[in-house]
């Protein structure tokens, strides 16, 4: 489900592609943010440093509205499928622990609660991202041509 494949929308689809690319880079950068160094006695510098480029990249990409067309950034479809894979992993962890809880093999009660909470949050996040993508698509389809 590549958004760029929408036929006849032209520049608008490209703009959305730019938006998605900027968004993808934003998420990729956040993944690389040095959470460990920030916790392990590091200052907030690395955190600020990683956040600032995200804002700049996102704003420039959307504001300029220039077609990116096959850029090296992560496209939205692979981003979404990667997110679904991670969600699948969290759900299966939660399911395993639920089975252990039911059979009495669970040693840490909180482990299951944490896993189920994480799975729930990840599901909500994925659904929110999907809804936003569908909203954007519908917005384009409503556009007068």
């Amino acid at each position: 489900m590549s958004i760029e494949s929408i036929g006849g929308v032209g520049d608008v689809a490209n703009t959305l592609g730019t938006l998605a690319t900027g968004y993808g880079q934003g998420i990729a950068d956040t993944d690389n943010a040095q959470m460990t160094s920030a916790i392990g006695g590091g200052s907030g510098v690395s955190y600020t440093g990683s956040v600032a480029p995200v804002t700049v990249t996102g704003t420039a990409g959307v504001g300029a509205s220039t077609p990116v067309g096959g850029s090296s950034g992560t496209d939205f479809a692979s981003l979404l499928s990667g997110g679904l894979d991670k969600l699948q992993g969290l759900q299966s962890t939660s399911d395993d622990l639920a089975l252990k809880a039911a059979t009495g093999d669970l040693t840490n009660v909180h482990d299951y609660m944490i896993a189920s909470n994480e799975a729930q949050l990840a599901t909500q996040l994925t659904v929110a991202v999907r809804n936003k993508a569908v909203d954007a698509f519908n917005e384009i389809m409503r556009m007068q041509v």
Binding site: N108, D111, I114, Q124
Partner: protein, 131 residues
């Protein structure tokens, strides 16, 4: 998943404190365990916490046991008493064990509160996408 780091780190803290409570409950359960003076007494268990290997959270580095020396108590009617009428009880201080238990309980709850707060923060972030 890196976005759930806060929850995962707090989860390791909860695990360590649960094991601490396990050790304290073991100590309290054996506080009246009498042995022969020739045998070693019950050795109190102490949980040693250390930073996790990957630097995220904490873990139990090991269990250190206390002295097997115990304390000799004069109980001539006890079936395990020796010729002089002494038995051996473990050297465990009830009040310090109870204090440890409460500390473990509070630390457990504090870590759970961290999880709850992180979860609420993430849920608040999701509210941005609605409406």
């Amino acid at each position: 998943m890196s976005i759930f780091d806060a929850i995962g780190i707090a989860g390791t803290g909860v695990t360590v404190n649960r094991k601490w409570m396990d050790a304290v409950s073991d100590n309290l359960a054996n506080i009246n365990t009498a042995t022969r003076t020739s045998d070693p007494a019950y050795e109190a268990k102490y949980v040693v916490a250390a930073e996790a290997a990957d630097g995220k959270g904490t873990q139990v580095a090991g269990i250190v046991t206390g002295s097997a020396e115990g304390r000799r108590v004069y109980e001539p009617t006890h079936p395990l008493a020796d010729e002089q009428g002494y038995v051996k009880y473990p050297d465990i201080d009830m009040s310090s064990q109870m204090t440890s238990l409460m500390m473990a309980q509070r630390a457990y709850q504090a870590n759970l509160q961290t999880i709850t707060t992180a979860k609420e923060a993430y849920s608040s972030a999701l509210q941005l996408g609605k409406g």
